[in-house]
Symmetry: C2
């Protein structure tokens, strides 16, 4: 039986092997991905992003347990931690997880702690998502440390993005989150049994107002944030703010519910298909760009390329002129 066939039938060992091949960008891995791609498009991709200290990993564990118990969904977790290349944080996280989720064949956890570029990381995450999707995982959680544009790029992969906050992380921390809040479909204040939860909620609401100015319309009509979602869900989605205590399992069912409602909203509004299209378009473009570059570099003599680069370094020609001279006749 082929590797892809074996993965489609749910073999975990084959799945692990392919993930490694994909991570190494081997030609076998690429071939398998191409086959598996035709079986994708079924999973709900959930991005969970939050700073260290928000308890995001424990929240993901609880959410996973919920999907297992209540829905019997197969769940894959991809933990992306681009900022900790050598602390081993991701590995430690896995060990803690193993305790909660081990022995369950319906859960697959994979971390990526990489020194690679953000682009490389996003590309590998996208490939992993396709593998899990094809392998029949209905829920794929992409967990990232929420701290910058890189996470925004990775979160773009998800259908639903959950942003996790916690009380008492300080105003400085809140300030950095504005860019992250903008991509939030669901907001969670975890550790909601801690002091300062009201302040965090107030700060989130006012930042949300900046990010979604249209919210004021609803305010004007005297409606609260928890507007009747079914009534407006084909028009717009207002990110709800939920409170959880993940260590005690509090608020997890409500969170799963909000995520499910968001998926429903995406489907009804047509945004689900739009996000799918946008994601695949950028993937196609990235592959095209890589392949164009590979073919170009394969055609040109190394010496010619190096000579042009040397001229740039000597400031004899600009990089723009270098590109023109390399592309027009591939000489000089």
């Amino acid at each position: 039986m082929s590797l892809t066939q074996s993965i489609l039938e749910g073999n975990r060992l084959s799945l692990t092997r392919l993930l490694t091949q994909v991570e190494n960008d081997s030609s076998d891995g690429r071939a398998a991905l191409a086959e598996l791609f035709l079986h994708t498009g079924k999973a709900h991709l959930i991005g969970v992003t939050g700073a260290p200290g928000t308890g995001k990993s424990s929240l993901v564990n609880q959410l996973t347990l919920h999907y297992r118990k209540e829905k019997n969904n197969k769940v894959a977790i991809i933990a992306v931690d681009p900022s900790s290349p050598f602390t081993g944080g991701a590995v430690l996280g896995d060990r803690v997880r193993m305790r909660d989720l081990s022995g369950d064949d319906g859960v697959f956890i994979r971390s990526m702690a990489s020194r690679g570029s953000v682009g490389g990381l996003a590309k590998k995450t996208a490939a992993f998502v396709q593998v899990f999707d094809a392998a029949g995982y209905e829920i794929i959680i992409i967990e990232t440390v929420g701290a910058g544009q890189s996470e925004v790029d990775i979160a773009k992969l998800a259908h639903t993005t959950v942003v996790v906050e916690a009380p008492g992380l300080g105003d400085d921390i809140q300030a950095i989150k504005a860019g992250i809040l903008e991509i939030a479909d669901v907001l969670v204040i975890n550790k909601a049994d801690r002091p300062g939860v009201e302040n965090t909620e107030r700060a989130l609401r006012s930042t949300l107002e900046l990010a979604h100015p249209t919210k004021r319309i609803f305010r004007h009509h005297g409606q609260s944030m928890s507007v009747d979602v079914p009534e407006i869900d084909t028009v717009m989605w207002i990110p709800p703010i939920l409170k959880t205590v993940s260590t005690e399992g509090k608020g997890i069912a409500e969170l799963a519910d909000a995520i499910a409602r968001h998926a429903e909203h995406l489907r009804q509004s047509g945004d689900w298909a739009d996000r799918d299209r946008t994601r695949l378009r950028s993937e196609l473009e990235a592959l095209l760009q890589d392949e164009l570059m590979n073919r170009f570099l394969g055609d040109i003599q190394q010496k010619v390329y190096d000579d042009v680069l040397d001229k740039v370094i000597q400031r004899d020609i600009s990089p723009y002129d270098a590109v023109r001279s390399l592309l027009n006749g591939k000489m000089k």
Copy 2:
């Protein structure tokens, strides 16, 4: 007089105009950049990165004042804040700065708060650096919020990367910094008059040891971190840890001195030329990739491209097959 000529002669208005053209990626901007490039390669690029709350901006201001007063260097500051697209943080920072540095023609400050991709931001920062370099700014400071791989990518532009910490930001925050520490040439504990400074220093030293395991050699010989730098500087650079109180101007001269020693080390070891080469090589590759893609998309009919994309979205063909079919004959 042409725009570039006027910039080379130090006209600030022309400089401002070109930066806007470059930001909008206009064809005039590109043409001017190509001309100006031939006049680059003289500036010392200093990356300053640190989380919000470390007082990094105030440190950059003090450092700038130092370069103005002590060295009479022209200083350009590029403030990159990819994570705060709409809080106006960058703009506010500029206003505070204007108070300290306004009226000084030898200082130019430019912020970039952008929703664009990390790649786009890094590209624009690189272009800005070239403009300032050609315009005769001897010191160019690239200030970024240190919070992830995106900042690492932007920091790669610099000859010398200064990482700013502060006491009391919490262990969670420290954890995220490992990836940033790895790129540090100089470490600064700012706000060093605050309690907890010893803990921060201890944490930094132990993380440094992970990032630079060779340091142990020096430990073994009974030497401290502040080894006699001139003796070893052509062999390796061990990032010094400095303490500053930027609000009082304390430690600024020592910081400027460490940065100057690092530049000297780069020049003696040949790393200065290596970093220049690496930077220009990636810039050339990025431009090549863009241009290859532009030419390809210009050649192909929109309908053909869309049809292939539709097949991918229908999961009739994989993105890999799509690329192959687009590149081989550019049909179907």
